[in-house]
Amino acid sequence: MAAAGNLLSTEMGAGKLHVLAVDDSHVDRKVIERLLKISSCKVTVVESGSRALQYLGLDGDKSSIGFDGVKVNLIMTDYSMPGMTGYELLKRIKESSVFREIPVVVMSSENILTRIDSCLEEGAEEFLLKPVKLSDVKRVTDFIMRGEGKNGTRSLKRSRSDDCTPSLTAAFTSVSHPRDLSSSPPPSIFHSKKSRSSID
C-alpha cells in the first residue's frame, strides 16, 4: 500500500481519493458522505447529474475544458434521479475524452438485471444495491486505490478475494476492450446481495 500511497499523493494530495457522490436524496447524500469519509476519502456531494457535470466542467461551457481544478478519482451516482438519471450521467462521463477514465459506480435500490447490465455495459465499475454498506464502499475505494497505484494505469489483473467477482474484471477490461456479453459473468451484486431480505 505504501507504493500506492506515494503515487496517489502526487496526484491527489494527502493520499486520499477524491470521490464525487451524486444523489437526489438528502438522506442518502448524508449517508454516502459519511461512508466515504470513514473510508478516508475526500468527498464532494451533489444533488443531480447536471450539478455533477457542472462540477466536472462538462456542462457544455467550453471555457471550463482544460481547467486546472477538479481532480476526481471516483464517481458514485444514484441511478434513479429526476432529470438526468445515473445512467445518463455515466454515459456523459464515458463519452468525455477528459473524464472517461474516471471509474463510475452506480447505486440503486432496485435489483433490475437489465439496468445492472446496461450500466456495466456502459462502463460502470460496479453496481451497488442500496442501502449501501460501509463494506461496499471500502471494497470499492480499496479497489480504486490499488488500481490507480500501478503505474497510474489500470491493471487488467487483480487478485480475487471473496468479495470480488469476475464482473469487476470484466468491467475493467471494458475500458480498453468492448465487453463481450457472451462471456460475461454475472454481475457482482448477485454474489454479495443474494442474502438481502430487503430486495423486492
Partner: protein, 168 residues
C-alpha cells in the same frame, strides 16, 4: 435518578452515577431489542449506528431527523396526488419510490413494507388499495417517529458508548 441517603461522598456518588449509566444503557439496549423484535427497524439501522464515533456520536439521530423533515414533503406530495381524479399511478409510484428509498436508508422496516405494498397497488391500478396502504404507511411512520424520539433521548442519557451492538 436515585436520590437516597448515600450521596455523602464523591466515590459513592460516582458509583451511583455509574450505576445510573449502566442502567440507562441496559434500558437503551432493551428498547433497541424491542424495536427490532417488533419489526420497526432492520439491519440498516445498525449499519448506521456503526458509523458513529466520538466525533460523530449522534449521526443516526441526525439522519433520522433529516429523514422526517425531508419525507414530510414527499408525504404532502402523495396526499395531493391522491386527491386527483383519476389517479396518476405513475406519479404516485415515482414519489413513493423516493420515499421508500429514504425509509430504507434509515432502516425503517415497517414503513418500507407499506411503501412496497403501495407500489404494488400502483402497478395494479388499485386506487382503494393505494389509499389504504398510504394511511397504514402514515401510521407506521408516525409510530416509528415516536419510538425513535424516545430511543434517541435514552441513548443520549446513556452516553455514546455501546449503542452499536447487534440485537439478538
Amino acid at each position: 435518578m436515585h436520590s437516597n441517603s448515600f450521596h455523602c461522598s464523591l466515590s459513592l456518588s460516582l458509583y451511583s452515577s455509574t450505576m445510573d449509566r449502566a442502567h440507562s444503557r441496559r434500558h437503551v439496549a432493551s428498547m433497541k431489542q424491542s424495536l427490532f423484535d417488533q419489526g420497526y427497524l432492520d439491519e440498516q439501522f445498525i449499519q448506521l449506528e456503526e458509523l458513529q464515533d466520538e466525533a460523530n456520536p449522534n449521526f443516526v439521530e441526525e439522519i433520522v431527523t433529516l429523514y422526517y423533515r425531508d419525507s414530510s414533503r414527499l408525504i404532502s406530495n402523495l396526499e395531493n396526488t391522491l386527491e386527483r381524479k383519476p389517479l396518476d399511478f405513475n406519479k404516485l409510484d415515482t414519489i413513493m419510490h423516493q420515499f421508500k428509498g429514504s425509509s430504507s436508508s434509515i432502516g425503517a422496516k415497517k414503513v418500507k413494507a407499506e411503501c412496497t405494498l403501495f407500489r404494488e397497488y400502483c402497478s395494479a391500478g388499485n386506487a382503494e388499495g393505494c389509499r389504504r396502504s398510504f394511511q397504514q404507511m402514515k401510521k407506521e411512520y408516525a409510530a416509528l417517529r415516536k419510538k425513535l424520539e424516545t430511543y434517541f433521548h435514552l441513548a443520549r442519557q446513556a452516553g455514546p458508548l455501546e449503542t452499536a451492538f447487534r440485537p439478538k
